[in-house]
Symmetry: C2
């Protein structure tokens, strides 16, 4: 018998309980032993629910139970979640989480504690919801040197952009729709301004190159500044506007990560990823491009990834997964990246650009700094990178 | 120091050696120890190559070396490869392979030997080339009950179909092009008649449901019977013709697997997968649909998957991966599957069908048997399932 607990019984936590109810027999068969949900830790009163018998409010109950193998942390944020994760790992429990904020900000410390205590700290659900992407990256692609990662990492903004592109719906209205459908929070800033995507591209970058990249150190641009003219102009020229997290290894070995809306050519597989779906493309020096696609959020998809990690932790009870990253290295500035750019505005199209709709696309690459200077000189209203 | 050997120094075997040369330092860092290629076993004379010092012709050298940890089997076929794999596992070596024929036909036996000897038999490269798909299926999605798997599993036929669809090139000519580009063998039957895809869908099915499905037991239809009118008619009606391997769990718990050309709606992500690329879509009862996309063949992509498995085997030296499947269960007959169908021919479109180009698509599902009977009655020239 293997025992686990859920801390934080919101969308993800209750999803994990549902997956156990749906698939408990199949999971037991895979594990070779039954998996039992022993505790649910939550500040809410669960006494009127079917979980009354296992609801607890005191974390030390989990901490001090020698029969508890795995703790699922679905509290969110980086305060209580950080404290309880630290303590659970110190107490020799494996911890599984969907908490991207915590992993992006404190993953290095928590993985170091896990290493010291010979337990697992796993977080497949923190990037791409239910889509398997972190384990494929650090395990299946372990024979590669990773050259680039680019992804639609936030379903809310992708839904909004899809409505703008396919439905001609203005940003504000598309955001309201997303809120009505439950895809966007009442305070949508973390999604719309790119913060959620920045946490995810940092975690991918940490794993790809073994060096911590903190979200507050990278350039992040969201989609609130986009208007219908941008997506329409791009569309007419054969591009889709997508909010991408992107991490690139430069020729000198340094890497950089950033989040920005990009123009994506319509023949690129990422361009066809619509609505709340996520897609992550990874380029390795042996495998070339591989892409992972699916639902990037939602209770059951996210719980699927959490449960996969719980099973993995239990199958590695005695042996920790070799997972972790070191202190931040010399991160390249996004300004050093050379890309093609899209500039919108009523200026005369200069040399080295081709006209598209009410703007221009550079025909050759230019550094971010150079592109910004050019945009200023021309008086362009919008400037967006074009995904190479 | 970890030691491995390569058996069979063809496309995949030499690709593995290349990946070690390209990425040896990064692999050593991941492993925590250097990885050394100790032997290459091949019937060819390698004395004039850089591998002269490690070339051997006698398998027992590998078998009897107590310092050899992992053997890569890239011989192909199911004769010598079967014997050497059995003996390597019996000798306590981990074995990694890209050999789909061997895994599909003898995987159950070989995994049982691996279990007995507490070593790993890993075969990520046998399906989808470099695309991580088997490990995501059996590990990341372990919390799911798998409902369906559908994939473009053969790059050669997808290249041919893409040329037929996008270029209007007839089948024979597209095949010749594929051969000229090195995508198709001189004897292309295994690809074109669906045999290669059938091995891969069987391996996916084995892993998804834990029961052996042998390629010779499933219905397999290739693309040699398709002509330009089929793909053109489908295209005009908003469908792409794709050769798919498909495995489905029925409501009564049985499952079935088959290979056939399908009509795929253009808004389905699989429809946009062109050329030699592969894509595999997996539906789990928690995660929904996830898709994996990339190059399904080629020396370096396949070697990437092999190397990922070599690293995994070395990280699990003491503990075998919990991998395997039992004897074949009660496999459902494809004839029991209800689907919509496309029928081509100059018949009067019957009730329950809508006309498309020179044929008709059923508006509701019908069993394979029923559809075949209808096709016969109408005198239809072609009958193809429509992917639901």
């Amino acid at each position: 018998m293997a025992n686990f607990a859920i801390m934080g019984f919101g969308t993800v936590g209750s999803g994990v309980a549902s997956v156990l109810r749906m698939n408990g027999d199949a999971i037991a068969e895979r594990l070779g032993e039954p998996l039992s949900l022993k505790y649910i830790l939550d500040v809410r009163d669960l006494s009127a629910t079917e979980y009354a018998g296992i609801a607890v409010k005191d974390f030390s109950v989990l901490e001090n139970d020698p029969e508890l193998d795995v703790v699922v942390e679905s509290i969110g944020g980086a305060k209580v979640a950080l404290e309880f994760t630290r303590r659970a790992l110190m107490a020799g429990k494996h911890v599984v989480t969907s908490n991207k904020e915590l992993v992006a900000s404190h993953g290095r410390e928590l993985l170091a504690i896990a290493k010291e205590k010979n337990v697992n700290y796993l977080f497949e659900a923190s990037v791409g919801g239910g889509i398997p992407v972190l384990r494929p990256l650090f395990q299946c692609l372990a024979g590669n040197q990773i050259e680039e990662i680019v992804g639609i990492l936030n379903g809310t903004t992708n839904y909004i952009l899809t409505r703008m592109i396919r439905g001609g719906v203005p940003f504000d209205e598309a955001l309201k729709e997303a809120q009505a459908k439950g895809y966007a929070e009442q305070n949508p800033a973390a999604d719309v301004e790119g913060l959620d995507a920045s946490r995810k591209i940092c975690i991918l970058s940490d794993l790809a190159w073994g060096r911590e990249v903190l979200p507050e150190r990278i350039s992040v641009q969201g989609i609130s500044g986009l208007n219908l003219r941008d997506v329409e102009t791009a569309s007419k020229a054969g591009y889709q506007v997508k909010l991408l997290g992107r991490a690139v290894k430069l020729e000198d070995g340094r890497h950089c990560a950033y989040v920005a809306p990009h123009l994506v050519r319509e023949d690129c597989p990422v361009a066809g990823v619509d609505g709340v779906f996520n897609a992550i493309m990874i380029r390795g020096n042996a495998v070339g491009d591989v892409m992972f696609y699916g639902r990037g959020a939602g209770d059951l998809p996210t719980a699927s990834a959490v449960m996969g990690d719980v099973i993995d932790a239990l199958q590695h009870r005695e042996k920790r997964r070799n997972l972790g990253w070191g202190e931040g290295g010399d991160l390249a500035d996004t300004g050093e990246l050379s890309m093609c750019w899209y500039l919108r505005g009523g200026f005369a199209v200069p040399q080295g650009c081709r006209e598209i709709g009410g703007g221009a696309v550079l025909t050759g690459p230019l550094s971010t700094k150079g592109a910004k200077a050019l945009a200023k000189k021309l008086g362009a209203e919008t400037i967006l990178p074009v995904l190479p």
